[in-house]
């Protein structure tokens, strides 16, 4: 009976989310065509209920189903991050979707189920659960990327994401079979024990398995050189979906990776720490350098998303609790600034030009839409990591974790990179404030987009000036 209660407690949030998701499917069928945004709003309410009901007390750990599923503070904090990403994306998407003629309930239903998949990824203590969760999330993401079927770019993004995603999943799965073959188990705790005891039949099999698995992970977090899909997918996807995709799946992949490497691969740190250090440096530098050359702001933000994954990887290789706490904080902050930036980007329209998101579209916006320009300015400054905005706090925590782990060189490279990144973020603001408009641009901020960007701006400022509240939120995290 005790066992049964523990099992129930460990899976309760997911069960709740499943029930709510099924209700959303029914709601989507019932609502009228013009009122599909209601589905999204109901989703927000459901997430709020789940977040309120499932908060584990500090230090509360519910590990059930033969040590396969864990609900603890770590899972909860990441659930809150996904829920916030959903909320902001939903609020910001209504006008964009209506404008493009693709306002459908499925957009919200599928996004909701993707969060369910991410929760399983984060709470998994077993590779099978992790894998099914990952696939649930990934399939939802392919659909979101290709959601605007009237547009070639979006369909291309969907297909590209699907092919690369399936390929990387296959790689991950292939690696998992080797790990299973060598250790005889799929459970994180048992893998760790087997690796520690040195009873592994032969070392090379585990190594091949782990390298394949980590490559699969690197695809999912779009680390250079496994990033080729990211710019095209983020650029092609509908703008709100792109905002969601740069934030939530990445946070989920990072959280699952943290769980896996910190628990299962803790004895094999000598293998993955150097690998991820190199990937972190490559990812940061490449993402920033290529972002410099972009003339399309959406594509630039896609490359900037790659470089942000690089910063987060520094926290991963730091190998201390500060590291993953910093990643959680960074993901949280990234939700506000990146989805805010993408929402504002989504409402920019120019008449007759091919691409709405060209850099030239931003010229002279400060005079015409001062509020819009101010919001964009704050998001850009925050993404660049200029103090005292939220982005700075996130980066600072990450670099502190690296310093603490005696990886000063990584922190230095990270800091140099964020100086480099300032250039392309600043360029947008310079266009907005100092350049004369070349052509007519429309940027009417609708009600829902206003709410999203307002929440984003307020939170970015709030975290910047009062970081303690947020640092406290992640302070008790333990893997």
């Amino acid at each position: 009976m005790q066992n049964f209660m523990m099992n129930l407690q460990s899976i309760f949030p997911e069960v709740l989310m499943t029930i709510f998701g099924l209700i959303l499917v029914v709601l989507d069928v019932m609502t009228k065509k013009e009122k599909k945004s209601m589905v999204g709003y109901f989703g927000i309410a459901f997430l709020l209920i789940t977040a309120l009901l499932t908060n584990p007390q500090v230090g509360g750990k519910y590990l059930g189903f033969n040590n396969m599923l864990m609900w603890d503070n770590f899972s909860y904090v990441f659930f809150v991050i996904f829920a916030l990403a959903y909320t902001l994306t939903t609020l910001g998407s209504v006008e964009y979707l209506k404008d493009k003629g693709i306002l459908k309930g499925e957009f919200y239903t599928i996004m909701f189920f993707s969060i369910l998949g991410m929760m399983f990824m984060v709470s998994a203590f077993d590779l099978t659960i992790f894998y099914v969760g990952l696939e649930t999330m990934a399939i939802a993401m392919y659909v979101l990327a290709g959601f605007n079927k009237n547009e070639m770019r979006s369909s291309e993004a969907g297909v590209k994401y699907f092919i690369i995603g399936a390929f990387s999943s296959a790689m991950l799965l292939f690696g998992m079979t080797y790990v299973y073959g060598a250790t005889g188990t799929l459970n994180y705790l048992q893998i760790s024990e087997v690796l520690k005891s040195g009873l592994v039949a032969d070392n090379m099999t585990v190594k091949i398995g782990l390298i394949l698995m980590l490559t699969g992970f690197a695809f999912k977090i779009s680390a250079v050189p496994f990033h080729m899909w990211a710019p095209d997918v983020y650029q092609g996807a509908p703008t709100p979906a792109a905002g969601f995709m740069t934030v939530a799946p990445k946070a989920a992949a990072f959280a699952a990776l943290i769980r896996f490497v910190y628990i299962a691969l803790e004895p094999a740190a000598g293998l993955w720490v150097p690998l991820f250090s190199i990937l972190a440096v490559l990812t940061m530098t490449y993402g920033n350098l290529v972002a410099l050359a972009q003339t399309n702001v959406k594509r630039m933000l896609a490359y900037s998303a790659i470089s942000h994954a690089g910063y987060m990887m520094i926290g991963l290789v730091a190998m201390n609790p500060e590291g993953y706490r910093a990643i959680a904080l960074y993901s949280l902050i990234y939700v506000f600034m990146n989805i805010g930036a993408f929402t504002l980007l989504g409402i920019l329209k120019n008449k007759g030009m091919v691409e709405d998101e060209r850099l030239e579209s931003f010229a002279g916006l400060a005079k015409k839409n001062p509020l819009y320009a101010l919001g964009m300015l704050i998001f850009m400054f925050s993404l660049a990591g200029i103090p005292p905005l939220a982005g700075f706090i996130g980066k600072f925590q990450i670099f502190m974790a690296a310093m603490k782990a005696d990886m000063i060189w990584l922190a230095v490279i990270g800091a140099l990179n964020s100086a480099l990144a300032c250039y392309y973020y600043m360029r947008v603001t310079i266009y907005m404030y100092f350049n004369e408009p070349e052509y007519e641009v429309e940027a009417t901020v609708g009600r829902s987009a206003f709410i999203t960007s307002f929440i984003g701006v307020v939170m970015v400022l709030f975290v910047g000036f009062f970081p303690t509240a947020f640092i406290n939120f992640v302070r008790h995290l333990l893997v």
Partner: protein, 117 residues
């Protein structure tokens, strides 16, 4: 493993029979060639355009739904085989599994994915 021997034998005999019938037929039957026999199709009209036309997109949805329900069947098979070991617990599990999928069926139905007109 040796339980598969009859199947292998069956396959060999079936394949061999096909080959034998073909060759024996070719030797035994009379061969009279005429011009008409070499036309594309011996009865009816010569075809006007290509024999393979583009299918309707609806076939794709039907095939996709078929794949999904087929995967469900794949889960049902070991469940049925091991039912005496898992009992009521297994029954509840499978009911949950199917109920979740029924929501998808309901969705497909309501959205008109199964309608043809």
């Amino acid at each position: 493993m040796s339980g598969y021997l009859p199947i292998v034998l069956f396959l060999i005999v079936a394949g061999g029979l096909g080959v034998v019938v073909m060759f024996v037929g070719a030797i035994v039957r009379p061969a009279k060639y005429e011009k008409v026999k070499f036309s594309v199709y011996e009865c009816g009209m010569p075809s006007l355009d290509e024999n393979r036309k583009r299918l309707n997109l609806r076939f794709y949805i039907i095939a996709m739904l078929f794949v999904i329900f087929d995967v469900e069947t794949v889960f049902l098979y070991p469940w049925a085989v091991s039912f005496d070991m898992i009992g009521l617990f297994g029954l509840i599990e499978m009911i949950l599994f199917i109920v979740i999928l029924v929501f998808g069926y309901f969705y497909a139905w309501q959205k008109g994915a199964l309608e043809w007109a």
